[in-house]
């Protein structure tokens, strides 16, 4: 007979009393049921389940603590080492016997009630009893193997135990430090998988360590402790290194691996791209990169998960928030900024704030306006200095906030009683004063888009251009769109409407200046390019009818038509105005980010 099986068999023979106790406990649920009037079967199953878990876990711990540790201190391990059995066989036999005892006791307690109170167990399993059974088995493993390790260490009475506790603390801190970057970027699912993987690895180390411990230490308690510690901590270190390597693989996701895009922005020159999204095998970890398309270089941006990074209007600054918390929870965040210049560094600003409901940058990205909790605050980013703050703003209703100049923040909020009325206010950063400058009444909340200087607003619901300061109506578009999103005011105050397979260009005075035939019935304007071109999006990317069009208003022709891609993205209140660029950022039908050539429509992947 195999030595390990023989030892297991010998140990089990000595534990007949433990099985008798389990048999006695298996009867007690039926006795307890005598006091239950309703749901008797469920009561029996519940009592049996509780007793089985409590008894098997207690046994696992007691046997884990005594299997080696107690025999070493009571000097009985020589019984095995004086015989022709290997240390590995001794451990395997003892471990098998210990676990069989604990799990066998569990089965003995549960089995009679399972046969005679099946309905009760059925109800228990439907309410997660199966998971409880699996978890109980896992807990037994942890208690048995963990009990052995703790027992061996404490019973040796060696000063080495101080080192063990120190290393335990280091390992716990290291594990947290390894997983934290993923947690901070929204990868709770993958972090959970990593933690489970790490726990399984540590459990395997705990299970294997005693074989090494006995091979090296044999009957000497201190040598056992020394060998166990060595194996355990090397094993834990290897597991941590493996975990760190996997974490690095997740964190180092290159832009080309992103398949689900969350944010994809491009500066006006087209050179700098910010992309964030998830990649296969990385769960919900949000990979974010700033890409220099001129060089193909990219760098990681560790912003908040699901939090936007912001390109300044002049395209020279990227600003984002990173958590300032040690633990991955919503709390305070710190502003970071990076100039969009080759070789520039990411700068941690002194500005730390709670996550705002609204955040806008000044045109040059040097200032930020934050609105949250009924308060609007404006800060200088580099210094973190508060420039102005006002209370009493209702940030929970239809709302617009933007810099109307370096020293003016325009706030448009709905009336607290009549939601159709919009109040136009200005926060003067020099005077530190809030003024109400006008109001506008609209029938529907479709929001506004605005000119680059913020002087005009286009009310989408009303097809009307209004003065952004006073709310006075300036003009109504002469061509009505069939649906509200087929009309857009551009950054210079001119407008585009598409309907009936035509594009209508309308100047800032409301005069139609061009009509261009389109290959589609209507399209949405997503960007302006150069002095005379507009970029339009038509069809549905989900239904694979997506089409991007570049229309030259000067020649009144569709210059480029490309299918199966969407981008650049329309973000914020101002239609982005690009220079004559060749590579646009876009996503395909599966949301994978890529670049496409504005002249040829050729698609190419992001840098890897």
């Amino acid at each position: 007979m195999n030595a390990a099986l023989l030892i297991a068999s010998r140990e089990l023979r000595d534990r007949s009393r433990l099985f008798l106790i389990a048999a006695a406990l298996s009867v007690s649920p039926f006795l307890a049921a005598l006091t239950i009037r309703e749901h008797r079967q469920l009561g029996i199953a519940s009592v049996a389940g509780f007793l089985a878990i409590a008894y098997s876990c207690s046994l696992a711990l007691a046997l884990g603590v005594s299997s080696i540790g107690r025999e070493l201190t009571e000097r009985r391990m020589s019984f095995f080492f004086a015989k022709p059995v290997s240390a590995t066989a001794i451990w395997l036999g003892k471990a098998a016997a210990g676990l069989l005892t604990a799990l066998g006791a569990l089965a003995i307690i549960v089995l009679p009630t399972f046969l005679f109170a099946r309905e009760g167990w059925k109800n228990m399993f439907m309410s997660g009893g199966g998971a409880v059974a699996l978890n109980t088995a896992l807990i037994c493993l942890v208690l048995f193997f963990g009990g052995n390790v703790v027992s061996t260490m404490l019973r040796s009475r060696s000063a080495r135990v101080v080192v063990d506790f120190f290393l335990l603390a280091i390992a716990a801190i290291a594990a947290f430090a390894i997983v934290r970057p993923i947690l901070m970027r929204g990868g709770k699912d993958i972090a959970g998988d990593i933690i489970v993987g790490l726990c399984v690895a540590v459990l395997l180390v705990l299970a294997a360590a005693p074989a090494w411990q006995l091979t090296r230490g044999r009957i000497d308690a201190r040598q056992n402790h020394a060998a166990l510690s060595k194996f355990l901590w090397i094993g834990v270190a290897v597991a941590l290194i493996g975990t760190a390597a996997f974490t690095y693989w997740v964190i180092a996701t290159p832009p080309a691996k992103i398949t689900q895009t969350f944010q994809f922005d491009q500066d006006p020159s087209g050179r700098w791209i910010y992309v964030s999204g998830t990649a296969p095998g990385r769960g919900e970890y949000m990979a974010s990169h700033l890409i220099d398309t001129a060089t193909g270089k990219h760098e990681r941006v560790s912003g908040l998960p699901w939090g936007d990074a912001h390109l300044s209007g002049d395209g020279r600054m990227l600003v984002w928030l990173e958590s300032a918390e040690i633990l991955p929870r919503v709390g305070t965040s710190r502003f970071y900024m990076r100039r969009l210049e080759p070789g520039a560094k990411q700068i941690a600003t002194p500005l730390v704030t709670r996550l705002p409901a609204h955040l806008v940058l000044s045109h040059d990205g040097s200032r930020v306006a934050l609105a949250t909790g009924g308060r609007v605050e404006v800060y200088e980013l580099v210094s973190g200095r508060l420039l102005a703050a006002v209370q009493g703003i209702d940030t929970s209703v239809a709302y617009l906030l933007y810099f109307a100049g370096p020293d003016v923040v325009r706030i448009i909020e709905a009336d607290k009683k009549d939601r159709e009325i919009r109040h136009f206010r200005e926060l003067d950063l020099v005077e530190r004063k809030l003024m109400t400058t006008g109001e506008w009444t609209t029938g529907e909340n479709r929001g506004f888009n605005r000119t680059a200087d913020g002087s005009r607003l286009y009310s989408r619901a009303d097809s009307t251009i209004i003065d952004a300061r006073t709310g006075a109506a300036l003009l109504t578009l002469p061509v009505k769109p069939t649906r509200w999103f087929y009309a857009t005011m551009l950054d210079d105050g001119s407008s585009i409407v598409t309907r009936d397979a035509k594009l209508f260009a309308i100047d800032a005075n409301g005069k139609v200046t061009a009509e261009v035939p389109l290959p589609v019935d209507a399209a949405l304007v997503v960007a302006r390019m150069g002095s005379s071109k507009v970029v339009l999006s038509a069809g549905s990317i989900v239904q694979h009818t997506q089409r991007m069009l570049i229309v030259d208003l000067a020649t009144r022709k569709v210059e480029t038509s490309v299918t199966g891609i969407y981008g650049p993205m329309l973000t914020g209140g101002v239609v982005p105005h690009y220079e004559e660029i060749t590579a646009f950022a876009g996503i395909d039908a599966s949301q994978k980010p890529m670049l496409w050539d504005s002249r040829t429509g050729t698609k190419r992947p992001l840098p890897s």
Binding site: D14, R76, S78, P84, V85
Partner: protein
């Protein structure tokens, strides 16, 4: 070192932290010989035995059985070795018959009938739990288990410690019987020197972890003598006799010499001297230290 050595220690040193338990010991036991390893409590006997059984790893030196490193090849070598430990180490919950069943599956030369006979002779119930047996019975079970494996080497670590006179006698009878039948090699550590004196071929004495004496028993007994002088033994200083111990004896002096020689002593012409041979126990006391005496 003998080429025929079954048990060998080569410069074995073992430390527990800063304390040196076994200090650079070399010894060998030839095949079929009986070696008595003597020493006071804490002298390092059990530590040396555990090194020789591959249970403790020497900090330096080698412990060998049958010419092989016992630390490396313990599992295989233990098939040929029977052990009676100083403290009975079998699991207390185990029944005697279960211990025999366990051993029977591990040793290819297991003799169940021999085990049953011995247990019956000792009057031990086979269904009794090991932990419920008396100390003497535990030793007897350990011996029965060790001998039933048909060992080529029998290692007895203080086998009579705590046993009454009857139990000691029966234990040695079993060992003697086995030796007579099979000619096994025996290493015995003990305080009970009288029975060992009759069977040991060679003896070693450990003192503070060092092997201070390692010699054939007969040679040992031939060269040790107790000499009693009626006056101060000025003659000792003039002779080449080496005194292992010297003490007051009435108005005279008693010396134990370790290099006694009849012819040389006669030449000294000391008529008042009384010369008597010594037992192994007396030699042990003289060498290992009389002040603490020998434990029983």
């Amino acid at each position: 070192m003998s080429m025929n050595a079954t048990i060998q220690a080569e410069d074995v040193t073992l430390r527990y932290g800063r304390k040196t338990a076994v200090d650079d010991i070399s010894l060998s036991v030839d095949s079929g010989a009986v070696y008595a390893l003597l020493g006071r409590n804490g002298s390092g006997k059990s530590s040396l035995v555990r090194c020789l059984l591959g249970q403790l790893k020497p900090d330096s030196g080698n412990a060998k059985l049958f010419g092989e490193d016992v630390w490396k090849h313990r599992t295989r070598l233990m098939e040929r070795v029977g052990v009676v430990p100083e403290d009975p180490d079998a699991p207390p919950e185990s029944r005697v018959k279960d211990l025999a069943w366990f051993s029977s599956k591990l040793y290819s030369r297991w003799q169940q009938s021999a085990f049953d006979r011995r247990i019956a002779r000792f009057g031990i119930p086979p269904a009794g739990r090991f932990g419920e047996l008396s100390k003497g019975q535990k030793k007897q079970v350990s011996l029965a288990l060790a001998l039933a494996t048909s060992p080529e080497v029998l290692i007895l670590d203080d086998p009579t410690l705590g046993l009454d006179v009857v139990a000691r006698k029966s234990l040695f009878e079993e060992v003697l019987g086995e030796m007579a039948d099979r000619g096994i090699t025996v290493l015995i550590t003990t305080h009970d020197l009288a029975p060992v004196e009759g069977i040991a071929d060679r003896a070693g004495i450990l003192k503070d972890g060092r092997l201070v004496l390692d010699e054939e028993v007969e040679t040992l007994k031939a060269r040790f003598r107790r000499i009693r002088f009626t006056s101060q033994p000025m003659v000792l200083a003039q002779s080449n006799l080496v005194a292992a111990s010297v003490r007051q004896w009435g108005t005279g002096t008693e010396a134990v010499v370790s290099n006694y020689d009849d012819v040389a002593f006669a030449r000294l012409q000391i008529p008042v001297a009384e010369v008597s041979p010594m037992s192994l126990e007396e030699i042990f006391i003289a060498v290992a230290g009389e002040e603490a005496g020998v434990e029983s």
